[in-house]
């Protein structure tokens, strides 16, 4: 089997991996700041609908459609950051889950979003090169971010907010910014998702997807964006690889998650670092 045949048979999966990696990255940045902000699926949904509508109703080209969608999701994320700024831990998680549900209901009921039936016929412009080029851009941007002082601030906020304030870090700003960045990346994923599916519906962006994204990040390593992306890739490939287990195959997702939690809580990234240190 040559590369072309392999691609033809698995293109959908390959695209999915790219999108899932983007989604994992969007949650990862929030988790790195210690924020259990579970609204990425909602941001993705908002962006998917915005990009679908501007493409179908206003015939915007792909790039403009993506940018409009990302703008929308980023603004929503920034606005969400305000009321939740004092929430931490489980409370922040629940608030963002609630937000996600509200978005789902709104999408289910507006005519512009096509209600429960969603929107179909979106031009499938988000081909594999487009998806992976976007992933590369985001990866580069995050890498650049990791070399700045701000990335230290993110880690400090995660470690100990009060001590972070004590050394002069504006914790509110860090939380706002990471949530907005997460919103932007999730928005990119959403716009690309819309342009790679035949149709989108409210159910695509609910708590089920959010849980999945969280699982990828945990398996990859909560504080490691690369780990998150790898976790996403692995768990996206896995169901396909074990198709023969049929109805039982989802059990492996759960098993892997449990095994990671119980024996490797730092995730794949943690195992990697442990290995590196051991050799040093």
């Amino acid at each position: 089997m040559n590369l072309a045949t392999f691609y033809a048979q698995h293109s959908k999966l390959i695209d999915q991996i790219g999108l899932d990696a983007l989604l994992a990255l969007s949650l990862s940045i929030c988790l790195q700041a210690g924020q259990l902000a579970l609204a990425q699926a909602a941001f993705m949904g908002i962006a998917a609908y915005v990009s679908a509508v501007v493409s179908l109703n206003f015939h915007w080209p792909l790039l403009a459609s993506i940018l409009a969608a990302m703008l929308a999701s980023t603004i929503v994320a920034g606005v969400l950051a305000l009321p939740v700024r004092r929430l931490r831990g489980i409370f922040l998680a629940i608030a963002t889950i609630g937000f996600g549900e509200i978005v789902r209901v709104v999408a289910n009921n507006l005519s512009i979003t096509g209600g429960a039936e969603g929107i179909s016929g979106i031009p499938p412009d988000a081909t594999t090169p487009v998806i992976y080029a976007s992933l590369a851009v985001v990866a580069l941007a995050l890498y650049a971010l990791s070399r700045t002082k701000f990335s230290l601030a993110i880690a400090l906020v995660r470690e100990d907010e009060s001590a972070a304030r004590g050394v002069g870090i504006d914790v509110g700003f860090v939380r706002f910014t990471t949530l907005a960045i997460g919103g932007a990346i999730a928005g990119l994923a959403g716009a690309l998702y819309a342009h790679s599916q035949f149709f989108i519906a409210p159910g695509d962006f609910g708590f089920g997807r959010m849980e999945q994204i969280l699982v990828w990040c945990v398996i990859g390593g909560v504080t490691s964006p690369l780990g998150a992306a790898i976790g996403a890739a692995l768990l996206t490939i896995l169901p396909e690889a074990i198709r023969f287990l049929a109805d039982y195959r989802d059990v492996t997702d759960g098993l892997i998650l449990l095994l990671v939690i119980l024996f490797a809580p730092r995730g794949i990234a943690g195992l990697w670092r442990r290995g590196a240190r051991g050799r040093a």
């Binding site: 400090l156 470690e159 009060s162 001590a163 972070a164 304030r165 004590g166 050394v167 002069g168 870090i169």
Partner: protein, 241 residues
């Protein structure tokens, strides 16, 4: 421009308790002010009020001419007030360099490795490697790393909350030297301590708190001879609490 830290009639009420009552004191750059008092006297509340963690119900706090009560914690830190914590609050899973860089965060540019090592030297822990995980350091080194972190921001005032807790006499003596060199560098030091030996050796002046109020001021010898102070401590003023 350096300034003194001045509290004027600072009062803190929370949970129906008056934790701090009309406390006035001044920390002068270049001098070490000791803050002592029995447990629960309000010493940590005073630091928390100064750093903006709790709000003043009355009174003012100034750094130089600038009023800082009411500012956000990070703004107060950036204004030049650094602190250490009673229960050590390092960024435990990050390495020594990251902790120092954290302290230096508001300053422009990035903390260079030589500058980081200079800070470690000032704090007397030059033997520690920059890539050691902070939480893995021995207790005494962690305390001094916390002080190094506080110094990293080039503060005008540094507040040390029981830095000698858990230290043996040798380490305490080295702490005295460190505090002296910090104040000689022109930084104002507020030292909260139970260990009277340390207070006598390191402080120029002392303020005594009890039940949130100032009950005595003066030099360490004046204050340790003051009957009111002795009564407040019920004779437990010698040695570490």
């Amino acid at each position: 421009m350096t300034g003194a830290l001045t509290l004027e009639r600072a009062t803190v009420d929370y949970g129906g308790v008056r934790a701090l009552c009309e406390v006035s004191l001044t920390v002068v750059p270049g001098r070490v002010l000791g803050l002592i008092g029995p447990n629960g006297a309000g010493k940590t509340t005073l630091i928390n009020a100064t750093t903006g963690i709790v709000a003043l119900s009355n009174g003012t706090i100034r750094l130089g001419e600038r009023r800082i009560d009411g500012l956000a914690q990070h703004q107060i830190a950036r204004a030049g007030i650094a602190r250490t914590y009673q229960n050590i609050r390092l960024f435990g899973t990050l390495d020594v360099y990251a902790n120092l860089a954290a302290g230096a965060y508001p300053r422009p540019g990035r903390l260079t490795a030589p500058a980081a090592r200079a800070l470690l030297e000032r704090a007397g822990i030059s033997h520690v490697a920059l890539d050691t995980i902070a939480g893995a350091l021995p207790y005494g080194d962690q305390r001094r790393l916390e002080i190094a972190r506080a110094l990293a921001g080039d503060p005008q005032i540094i507040m040390l909350d029981e830095p000698a807790a858990g230290m043996n006499p040798t380490e305490t003596a080295r702490l005295v030297e460190m505090i002296a060199s910090i104040s000689q560098a022109g930084i104002g030091v507020l030292l909260i301590e139970h260990d009277m030996t340390l207070v006598r050796a390191a402080c120029h002046d002392v303020v005594v708190l009890n039940f949130g109020e100032v009950i005595a001021r003066g030099t360490p010898s004046e204050v340790s001879a003051d009957p009111i102070v002795i009564e407040a401590y019920l004779g437990t003023d010698e040695g570490a609490a």
